[in-house]
Amino acid sequence: MNSVTTIVHSSVGKKVLMGVTGLIMVGWLTIHMAGHLIMFSGQDAYNNYAHFIQSGFGLEPALLWGMRLFMLAAIGGHIWAAVALTQQNAAARPVAYAAGRQNRVTTYPARLMRIGGMFLLLYLIFHLAHLTAGVLSGSEFAMGGKPWVKEDAYANMIHGLSNPVIGVVYLLATVALGAHLRHGVWSAFHTLGLSDPRWDAIKSGLGNLVPVAIVGGFVVVVLAAMGGVFAPPDPAWHPPAHWLH
């Protein structure tokens, strides 16, 4: 009792981990969304941006893997805390109410956090396989029959979203993300202790603004790709020679 390690083993500590890892992912998503808006600047600009990331932010290729491992740790911590807390919560009420516990105020985003989180994990695996690893290269269904080319992220995105079914999957995932963030961002600030009434405006402001901005940015890009707003990729596009070594 009263130990330094309370934060590690307590339910509150797991929630702090949940909040911190969640906010790390929100930060990452904000950059990811902003980067996607470069699609509107055309093939050269977007591929330059993709190369900047692929080359380790123009510094050191190992940095890309550092970033990936850091995000993987955040996702792993988030899931571990979610599973541990869900088990604790289930054990805390072994006998359910016969009349069914009635909710007075809770919201659908809050009630769908677990199932939505699992859906987002499945989507993440698909998304990484689809556009980051290119395992569906050449697939008629998932890539419009075009090859996945690492350096041509612009073409990958347009070919990858050429099938409306894939596009709808991306849109659904974006909506699920918005719902997850709608409850998650406010909750993270709350868990991390922003209790003073002075912080209320910031808590609810960011809690609403962050999901709207992130979802809005992604939806615009996906719809633009599906609706043919982006110029068709130039099949003759080649990465500059200095990228390839």
């Binding site: 009792m1 009263n2 130990s3 330094v4 309370t6 934060i7 083993h9 307590s10 339910s11 509150v12 500590g13 797991k14 929630k15 702090v16 807390l85 604790q88 919560n89 289930a90 054990a91 805390a92 009420r93 072994p94 006998v95 359910a96 109410y97 016969a98 009349a99 069914g100 516990r101 009635q102 909710n103 007075r104 105020v105 809770t106 809050a110 009630r111 956090m113 409850h183 406010w186 909750s187 709350h190 868990t191 991390l192 202790g193 922003l194 209790s195 003073d196 009434p197």
Partner: protein, 250 residues
């Protein structure tokens, strides 16, 4: 008016329980919910049967003894109400009303609608106090406390420990109770000396009792007869992080 009651009956902590149905119970809209249970018990006793066991004391909404889940709602459908302050005028003639005890592994059923809430007492014993020298009372206003801080501490201190927050929580979490008890002392000067050990000890005990964790549904706040807000949960979270960082630095 008449109502049909489905009441949870359980003869002991380890006994198997079941609902008992009382049909066409004659009630008056001005009756409180507990008075209705009293009339049922008068009838049961007249028939030589065991009365329905339920906790109650002040019957004016200030003691925290009573409580049951009525049609899935802790303390029933009233707003900021205890069970004793719920009246039959909140129901309609012919309604079927399901009455069950608080459901949480940390609140084992003693009998019928009565649960053992001594887990709350053990959370208090783990730090929900201030150690002071006894003797004559200190001078009033000897220790100036700003009005906004005093008000926030007082709002937390209105917790009557009824357990509705746990009963209403999807996770049977005791975070609202624990955070109110941590905050009403932690916000004022008298509570500073033990502020860190208090939050560490109480959170440890809360988890050890088998309560769930908070997922910010705010059902506790909506069910609380005193309207205590979830901002105290954020306060507890902050205090816990601060206490851990503080002990780590020492």
């Amino acid at each position: 008016m008449k109502v049909t009651l489905k009441v949870w009956r359980q003869s002991g902590p380890d006994a198997e329980g079941a609902f008992e149905t009382f049909t066409d119970v004659p009630v008056d809209p001005a009756m409180s919910f507990l008075e209705m249970l009293d009339t049922v018990n008068v009838q049961l006793e007249a028939e030589g049967k065991e009365p329905v066991v339920f906790d109650h004391d002040c019957r004016e909404g200030i003691c925290g003894a009573c409580g049951a889940v009525v049609n899935g709602l802790a303390h029933g459908p009233g707003k900021r109400s205890t069970l004793c302050q719920l009246h039959l005028r909140s129901f309609n003639d012919g309604d079927e009303i399901t009455v069950e005890p608080w459901r949480a592994s940390a609140f084992p059923v003693v009998r019928d609608l009565m649960v053992d809430r001594s887990s709350f007492d053990r959370i208090i014993q783990a730090g929900g106090y201030v150690s002071v020298r006894t003797g004559s009372a200190p001078d009033g206003n000897a220790m100036p406390i700003g009005k906004p801080v005093a008000d926030r501490a007082m709002e937390a201190a209105t917790c009557i420990g009824c357990g509705a927050c746990v009963a209403a929580c999807p996770n049977a979490s005791a975070m609202l109770f624990t955070s109110a008890k941590v905050s009403h002392l932690g916000l004022v000067p008298q509570g500073q000396a033990e502020r860190d050990s208090r939050v560490l000890g109480m959170v440890d005990q809360m988890d050890a009792e088998g309560f769930g964790g908070c997922t910010n549904h705010r059902e506790c706040e909506a069910a609380c007869p005193k309207g205590i807000g979830v901002e105290y949960i954020a306060q507890l979270n902050r205090d816990l992080v601060r206490a851990n960082l503080g002990s780590a630095a020492k």
